[in-house]
Amino acid sequence: MSEPATVTAPPPGKRAGGRKKARREKLFAYGMLTPTVAAVGLLMAYPIYVAINLSFRGGEITDLQNLGQYPLTLSNFFSVITDPALLGDIWRSIVYTVGVVVPAFAIGLGLALLLNKAFPGRRIVRPLALLPWAVPGVAVAAAFSWMLDSSFGVINYLLRTVGLIDQNVAWLADSNTAMTAVIIPTVWKFYPFFTLVLVAALQAIPGDLYEAARIDGASAWQQFRYVTWPALKTPAALAIVITGIGVFREFDFIFPLTGGGPDNATQTLAVRIYNEAFEYFSFGVSAAVGVITMIVAGALLLAAGRSVRQGLN
């Protein structure tokens, strides 16, 4: 039997030295953090502060560097909230977001399952499938504006060739088709993100699980349902929420393709913010719409995050 260990307290001088060292380390750590905090403050917090400040300023704002000269007021928010067009803008933003996220997720999942299989040329196909994610949104919009062109567009040509339409469709100029026409390029741009996230998650699933499932006689669907899907739920939920928020405030595709038209058919909150500021010179109203967008996006983020998690669980 061994003797119990004797714990001896450090001498008082040594204890004080340790505290000093801890304090120095703490200060050093804060010192290291300071540039990051300052950069984040400048790049994120300050613009948000300016936007919020601007949204509460009345009068005709013509000098953004001296906002203090304009009176504080709620009139911008009153004007926006009482404008019947706001509900339409929010509704179109939601339609656009859901219209993009659902098909993009479906395509992304299907492609991820495919790319997770071993097949000849996989090394080439994988980066090609992810390529749209690397293309700038405005370039995608420019390419699709030609493809969807009512006179020379390849989409009308293909549809006419296979006999689905008799006459060219003015995809971007008709209120009934414009929203679909802006959703299509956005889906093309966003599905690779889902693929990327889901492929990474699929590769983390141990092969033993599939082997065990096969030995137990599980069909392909049952393997997906009971092995694959549980492993994908969390990353899928995260990807859906991140993409949803990104699409909700998306501007790059809608503005170059339709400018929010025709007849406001594609005017989302993001496009409205731009139009209020740069078409109508209403900087205060534009900032107020921006703040409302932040609030709506935040609320949707909370609700979507919770419901997606619950649904997936």
Binding site: A173, S175, D263, Y274, F278, Y280, F281, F283, V285
Partner: protein, 440 residues
């Protein structure tokens, strides 16, 4: 201040190096490199690349334009020759984002030196205090006496804020061969225009009677309002009472819908022009600037492309672009900018404008015999510009909110083109929306 910061940075750098016991050679190398970087930075702050004493920044959507940029470059060369030490930095900004970019720059307190604007937007900028009134400077020139009456559109609350570079009347461009094949004459009234457009559309070949912007675009405003003005109507009277539901306006909206039913769907003005140059469009209404594009047509089409007066009792017209002095410019810069504008307004340069661009400059007598020989259509364009009634709003609230007005009218135009909503209902919508302008 820069030197102080530089000294401090070097001082800090040396301390760090000393603490870390870096060799003397390393310290010397770092100090030398730092000094070189700082010297380069300081040099970069204080002088221009060209060594000019003053550089005037001049962004424009016409800097790369095949029709207009040669004139600008000649003018700038002459200005720089007359003003040694002053240089003009003339560069291209795409038209689609031009107004937005200038808006941002003015709002941020950093406008360009020479302000070139689409003239329809000039009052928006003037009303916000961004442009300097130039009445005192104009008093020493003959510009107000010798310019087209459309120059008036650059006045706001009794003051003048710019000099117009192009005012025009709309003309009817037509393909004579298509009209002949369809068995119709060049139309001289809206009724004849509709009949001719329908006849051309009925031709067995793939042709359209009329060409117009049928996707939503600021051009919807100009095209629809041309029909309105051509029918003695307007969106408002001078007092600001909205008149979008007047009988004349309803007639114009109805004509616009009927005529545009013969136009290709979902196209912008550039595509419209391409189809016209390709010989697929019978007629379109546009300003004189389209003339220079006709040279791009295939030879077998080009010979059939002609110009006539628009088929309306009233000639609709507009203002294209203008030059301005920013309100808060340094006096030296403001004077230099004004001298540039003054040079552009000289008879010689106005005549040169007409010769190079093939559109009549705003100064009386700018269409010379030589220019007429080269471009006979200039005579017609000159007459149209003299008689033109401006399509841009007259009422103050509509002028200062032109962006919103343009969007409202463009939305109304799209409802006429792409839906079957009754004309009266569309007019009521425009009326209601225009009445709300200025209430925000």
């Amino acid at each position: 201040m820069a030197a102080l910061i530089a000294r401090q940075q070097i001082h800090n750098g040396v301390n760090v190096i000393a603490r870390n016991r870096v060799s003397l050679r390393m310290r010397t190398a770092i100090a030398a490199a730092s000094t070189a970087v700082l010297a380069a930075a300081v040099a970069g702050c204080g002088a221009t690349d060209s060594g000019a004493d003053l550089v005037l920044e001049f962004p424009s959507w016409q800097a790369d334009d095949a029709s207009f940029s040669p004139w600008w470059h000649e003018l700038i060369a002459e200005y720089e020759r007359r003003n040694p030490g002053v240089e003009i930095d003339f560069y291209q900004v795409p038209f689609d984002s031009f107004v937005a970019q200038q808006t941002t720059r003015f709002a941020a307190g950093d406008p360009a030196d020479i302000v070139h604007l689409p003239a329809a937007n000039a009052v928006q900028f003037a009303a916000r205090g961004w442009l300097a009134p130039i009445d005192e400077r104009l008093a020493d020139t003959d510009i107000l006496q010798e310019w087209t009456p459309l120059q008036q559109q650059l006045s706001w609350e009794g003051k003048t804020y710019g000099v117009l570079l192009l005012g025009y009347g709309y003309a009817l461009f037509y393909n004579e061969e298509l009209l002949t094949k369809a068995g119709v004459d060049v139309p001289t009234s809206p009724e004849e225009l509709l009949a001719a457009a329908r006849a051309v559309s009925a031709l067995p070949q793939d042709s359209f009677g009329f060409g117009a912007t049928t996707a939503q675009n600021p051009d919807n405003y100009t095209e629809l309002t041309s029909f309105l003005v051509g029918n003695h109507a307007s969106w408002s009277d001078s007092e600001g009472t909205i008149t979008a539901t007047s009988q004349e306006a309803l007639t114009a909206l109805s004509q616009y819908r009927d005529v545009l039913a013969t136009a290709p769907r979902g196209i912008q003005s550039q595509q419209r022009n391409e189809l016209f140059l390709n010989g697929q469009i019978g007629m379109l209404i546009d300003g004189p600037f389209l003339l220079s594009e006709l040279d791009g047509a295939r030879p077998e089409v080009k010979e059939h492309l002609k110009v006539a007066a628009p088929p309306f009792e009233v000639t609709p017209g507009g203002i294209s672009n203008s030059l301005h002095v920013p309100a808060d410019a340094d006096p030296e810069v403001a004077q230099a900018v004004w001298e540039f504008i003054e040079l552009a307004g000289e008879p010689r340069w106005q005549q040169r404008y007409t010769e190079v661009t093939s559109v009549p400059a705003p100064r009386e007598g700018s269409v010379t015999e030589a220019a007429l020989r080269a471009t006979p259509e200039l005579e017609l364009f000159g007459e149209l510009a003299d008689n033109a009634v401006d399509i841009f709003p007259e009422a103050a609230d509509l002028r200062r909110n032109y962006g919103r007005v343009g969007d409202i009218v463009a939305s109304g135009a799209i409802r006429l083109i792409a839906t079957s909503a009754p004309v009266a209902q569309v007019a009521e919508g425009i009326q209601r929306d225009l009445e709300g302008v200025g209430d925000e």
